[in-house]
Every structure is written in C-alpha cells, then in structure tokens.
Symmetry: none
Subunit: 414 residues, 2 copies
C-alpha cells in the first residue's frame, strides 16, 4: 500500500514553519508498513491544490492532507477535495454545536465564518477534533482514500492517533509491534558499537537507534500477524540488549525519564521537591507536566537570585562568597535546605551556568552541580555540559532525573 | 520569478528527519521576492526523481534540489539532473584535490567512491562546499535554472549564503520586507473579521494572519526595491492594524510574549517573581529561558501541595478549606505572600486545574485564577481554559504574561 502526504499552507512555502507534520505522519505510516513515495507542499491556491491532489490520487492509494481547514476564506482544502471527488459539502449539526460550545466555554461568540468548519464532504468518516474547531474526515472512493487533517500539530496528532492510525491498521492486515528502549548515559556511537552485530544481523525484528536531546531510543520492531508472534520475535532481542546495557536502559516502552521517575516515586510512596537555579523551573515543570503529579510532587524553589538561595534554602552568604553560587558546596547547601524545609522524601538541587553569558575560565558555560537525596542517601555530581543554553538546561534536567532514578533503585554507583 | 524546492532522500520519506532545508530556503527566497509554489520530497529513486524534476522545470523558473549528492550508489540527484538536462558529467581536478585534502586534514585516505563527487554537469557554475565533500552547482538552460545543493544543513546553508543568495539577488531586483505583528487575546476568526477589508483590498503589502498555540501572528509583507520604499508601504498598514487592535498587539517584530515582558521589565528596572501551582514552573522556565534573565528574574515558588502554599506563601488553611486551592482568594493570598516575601517589584500567582483529573461541576478542568502585581497595582482574573493539560498550562502562562505586560503598560482595563 502506498501513501503520499500533501501539506497545504502558504506559511510553509514562505518558510515560516517547517513541515513537521509530514515527518510525523511518515514515521507512523512506516510503522504500519505503508510506503510513502512523495511529500508535497502547496500554498492556499485552489488550482495548484487540485492539480496536485489529482496527481496524488493517480499514483498513490492513500492521500493524507494537512492544513487549510481553518475558518477563513484562504482555507480551501476541504472545498477543493470535495470538488475533485465530486462530493457535496453537508452541514453536521453536532459538529456545529461542538464549535459553538468551544467558543462558549471561552466566553466568546462563534463568528459566522466558523460555521464553514461544520461542513464535511458527504459519505465521509468524521475525525473528531477535541483540541480545535476543524474536524477532519476520511473519504473512500473505490480503491483510493483521502484523509483530511488540520495543520496545527497539537490538533492533527491526537486526531491521527485516535482515529486514523486504527483505521489504517485495519486496512493493512500486517501489524508492526515495537519496543522502545530508552537509554541515558552513553553516546550514540558508543551504543551503536555495542549493538552493531545485533543491528546488522537482524531484519525481523529490526533494531534502529536514534538520538534526540541527550536521550537515545532503540526501536525494536517486529512485523507480524499477532501479538503472540510479536513477543516471540521481540523478547529475546530486547533481553539481549538489556543484558548488554544494564542500568543504562531506563524504559522498555518509550517512557520519558520523567515518567519513569514519576512511576518510581509512586510505587515507593515517595514525594519529591526540587531546588533549581540555572534550570529555572524546567525540572519541576517536566515532572508536573505528568497527570497526577500532585501525588508525588510537593513543591519547588526556583532560587534564581543568590538572595533567594539564602532566604528560601538557608544557603550561607559565606559559602556563596567563598565558593560561588555554582559549586559543590552551594548545591549541597541548597539540597540540605530543601530537605529541612519540606516534607519531601526525595529532593534534587541544581546550580550551574547555562550561558551564553556568565562563564569564566575556571567556571565555563555548561558547568553544573547537581545534588540529590532519597531519604537518607545523598549524591552530588559535577557536570561539564556542551551546547547552547537550551541544551545545557535540558541535559541538566536529564542528569537530575537519572540521578534520582538511580538513587531510588540503589544503583547510583554504576 | 517562481521557484520550487525538490528534496531528495528516503530518510525524509521515512520520517527520520524533517525537511528543514525547504523551510530555510523558502524563507531566504521570500526575502528575495521569489515566489515558491511547491515543495516536493522524493526518495532515492531515479524514475520518480526524473518525473518530478521535469514537472518542476515545466512550471517554475528555478528549481533548487537538496540531497542525493553523497558518494554512494544511492545518491543519484546529480546523475538524474545531468540526464534530464542532457549534460555530460565532467571531472574537476581542483574539486578532486579539495576532496583529497578534506580527508587528509582528518588523517584519512579518500575512498575511491568519493571520486564521483568531483564530477559536475558541463557548463555549470560550481558552488564550493567548505564543510563537506559534495560541491553544488548552478545549471542555466534558457529561461530555466537548476541549483543543486547537498542535503546536510551544515553544508547546504553556508553554500547557499556564500554563492546562491548573491546569484539570485542579482537576477531579481526585488526584495520582500515583512513586519510580524504578534497578537494575544482575540480569536483568529474575530481578528480576521476585524481586518477583512484590509486583507481583501491589499496586495502590496500583503496581510496574512495565522494562529499557533494561543497566539496570532499577522504578517505584513511589502515587495519593493529598497528598505525606504518598504517603510513607505508598510508603515501606514501597520499603524492602521494597530489602531484597530490597540493593546492586543504586543509585538511588531515577531517577538514572543515572554521576550516582550522580559524587555518591559528590563526597560523599567523591574524584577519579577512567580508563585505557581498548576503551571508547575512553566512560567518561570519560559522567562529564564531567555539569556540574561538573571537581571530581571529573582525567584519562583512552585507551591504544588497546599502545605507548600501555606508554608512558603502564608496562604491560610482557612482560605484553602473554605474556598479551595483553586480560587480568587487563594490566588490573591499567594500573590500577597510572594510580594511580602521577595524583593520583586513584579509578581504573578497562578492556581488552577490543569486536568485531566481533579475537575468538578463547580470547578471544571481548565479553571484557572491568575493574580499579578506591578509595584502597587494589583489584578486578579478568572479563566476557563480549554484543551488538554499541556494546552491549559500553556494558555495559563500566556495569560499571566499578558496580564503582566498590561499592568506594566498601565492598560489592564482594556
């Protein structure tokens, strides 16, 4: 089965945004064993859109469009698809009510032009949009299928996952089952060297490592007809990889490091607090981004200024003057203050230089001290992180989470 | 003049990487006033590449290809272009020496297959590649031009800047200059209605609104020969839009809301602190993500648990029991505690229900109270936000930033 992805939007052709939807959809389609031979981007121009849509329908089984479903007169994807496929646009009262509610909940009146979004091509499968006012739809025409989705990734992705992925999975018989091993604390090339023989000898399951923002994911994917067959193919490979990498593997199912820590805290009845300087709340934000985090997270002190470190965490001015705000001593005093002040059984303190300014020869940008405790066990480590401000802050959070994970598991020495 | 961008690479169709080259090139071409009507991505498949290249040459003046210039047999862009345009591939000895040096500098011997990269179509303008082994070239054929560039952005971008941009600038006398008006506090369709007559009557400058994550950008773009002419075209339109939208416009040059607040704090010698519950540090993280934020940000209290609200901010148990943690009263007590405890001249307190759990009929998911002060002026507002947890937290931050901006500007009543 072949598919192609047709993105509609002048903002893409102006270079204001990248076509990340095409990447997202391509990756998911590949997991279903559907071949993608073309990505195309056209602007909000009905003639060029129609020409491109017709060509796509000629050469591919499935055409997925993204964008051009907004309420404005520039948004013409739906009208062009309906015209090309000779379908009337019919009003869906339930969708219209949904759009009215969407605005009512925001204490705004629905503008008349939004009514346009409640129309869909006749005889199409509706794809509800819980995060916006533009629904999508699936239109089947003989052997061909057009799947129409909105442009904003925050709307498109949940719609694809909830409706389209399942729909396509049914059509393709074959299932692909993946294990996503998440790994932290080793470089990508080191990892590849350690797994090279496996990667080269395997074709079912396939083994594909890829790195992003300091973490590595190894996707092990079996192509099969049911989940029993999948386990038989996946389990031996996964355990071989785990036996080689040990505690470096923190998840088998693609969980993020914060989700793993979240679950460890929950399972062990622990409650966490953080004291952050250079990360400015990023660690606390990551943990509290997980639904239900109020069970395992008590509070955070973002002591950005020295004055706050002293007043909120009892760091002494002597320590700050003698060793500096970015030092082993300050990190430990922040942590001790946090432990004394809160009822948290788990604590993390981070102080460092995120840059681009503030570095010195003795204390360069990227120097970060992280201290952590779990009940009565302490750990304080020094890091020299690379990259820009965003990267340093991100990697500091990952190391803090990994130190917490290892302390809870009692494997901090490894 | 029209151009299209043709990216070659199966890794793009597999979703392993996003086509960021197309975005980069499109932005630069837009600045030159060159219209880009299509982006296409094809795999390492000569037949599909040739078909796509021929179509591109028929409908566009300029075709820019990226990728497929590597040494391996999969890399067929150059061969396909030469075949399509009936040009011989000729060996460039100087390029071959360059490739040999490239490897020598890295203490490696050039593999034989790399010799392939020293061949270019006859009668083409060479585009040197200082950062890799694949040179590019410009091929002129009558009215049509093909510009061939490698795929890795680290190689492609410097080559485009050093050679291609200048080449294209000479060919088009025109430049495009844009103003990016950023707007918060109005829906996309409301905005569209209020600017409809302008949008419809204008063609130079053009006016294009688009929304993303709760903010709206209105791009006003003038096509002209120099920057004086640009101002003459842009200024009246920009001031008309601003007079219609007033304080809803927070930036004219595409700045984010946090950057605008950052600058307002700096210009006014103000220092900020935050007290966050449902946003869990997201607001503090956003502000401190800006380099130099230590000048304008003092600290944050992430009082996730009630106990923390009481201990750190002096919220009374009575208030929490009587009105609940998510209430006007609690938000104001958090803010007062923040003001008394810190030296900050600007403060923001946020408490709400981010969901998915924790909602009740009286207090649904999305209910958020935000209180803010600037020196002695206070403001507390109630919001009922929509969408998932991430969206609620994001919108709460945007509202908090906008309230801060309005308080500093003294326009909170509007």
């Amino acid at each position: 089965m072949t598919a192609e992805i047709l993105a509609v939007g002048t903002e893409l052709l102006m270079g204001q945004i990248a076509n990340t939807n095409a990447q997202y959809l391509s990756r998911r389609l590949a997991e279903l064993g559907i071949n993608v031979y073309f990505h195309t981007v056209v602007g909000d121009n009905p003639a060029r859109l129609e020409e491109t849509l017709k060509r796509a329908l000629n050469r591919s089984d499935i055409v997925i469009t993204t964008g051009g479903l907004g309420p404005t007169k520039d948004d013409l994807t739906k009208e062009t698809i309906s015209k090309t496929m000779n379908r009337e646009l019919v009003l869906h009262e339930d969708i219209l009510d949904g759009i009215r509610n969407f605005f009512a909940k925001r204490h705004r009146k629905m503008a008349e032009i939004n009514k346009k979004q409640a129309y869909l091509p006749e005889n199409s499968i509706v794809i509800p949009n819980p995060n916006g006012t533009a629904p999508g739809c699936i239109i089947e025409e003989g052997e061909k299928t057009v799947i129409m989705l909105p442009g904003p990734p925050k709307e498109m992705q949940p719609m694809f996952e909830a409706t389209v992925f399942k729909y396509l999975k049914q059509r393709t018989g074959v299932i692909l089952v993946s294990k996503m091993l998440k790994i932290f604390g080793i470089g990508e090339s080191d990892l590849e060297t350690r797994l090279m023989d496996l990667i080269e000898s395997q074709n079912n399951p396939t083994i594909a490592p890829y790195a992003s923002q300091g973490e590595i994911t190894v996707r092990v994917t079996a192509r099969c007809s049911d989940h029993n067959e999948a386990s038989a193919l996946l389990d031996p490979v996964v355990s071989e990889i785990k036996s080689r990498l040990g505690v470096l593997v923190y998840s088998e199912d693609g969980q993020s490091l914060e989700e793993v820590v979240f679950n460890l805290l929950k399972e062990n009845g622990l409650v966490m607090a953080t004291a952050e300087s250079c990360t400015g709340g990023l660690l606390s934000e990551r943990i509290t981004d997980i639904p239900g985090s109020s069970e395992i997270f008590e509070r955070a002190y973002i002591t950005y200024a020295n004055r706050a470190k002293v007043e909120d965490l009892g760091v002494s001015w002597d320590t700050l003057n003698k060793y500096g705000a970015v030092s082993h001593q300050t990190a430990m005093e922040m942590l001790n203050g946090l432990k004394q002040k809160t009822g948290a059984s788990v604590g993390v303190a981070i102080t460092g230089i995120a840059g681009p300014g503030g570095g010195t020869p003795e204390k360069p940008v990227g120097l970060v001290f992280i201290a952590a405790y779990v009940k009565d066990r302490f750990l304080c480590r020094k890091f020299e992180l690379m990259g820009n401000r965003e990267r340093v802050r991100n990697d500091a959070c990952l190391h803090a989470l990994d130190m917490t994970r290892r302390l809870i598991l009692g494997v901090e020495q490894q």
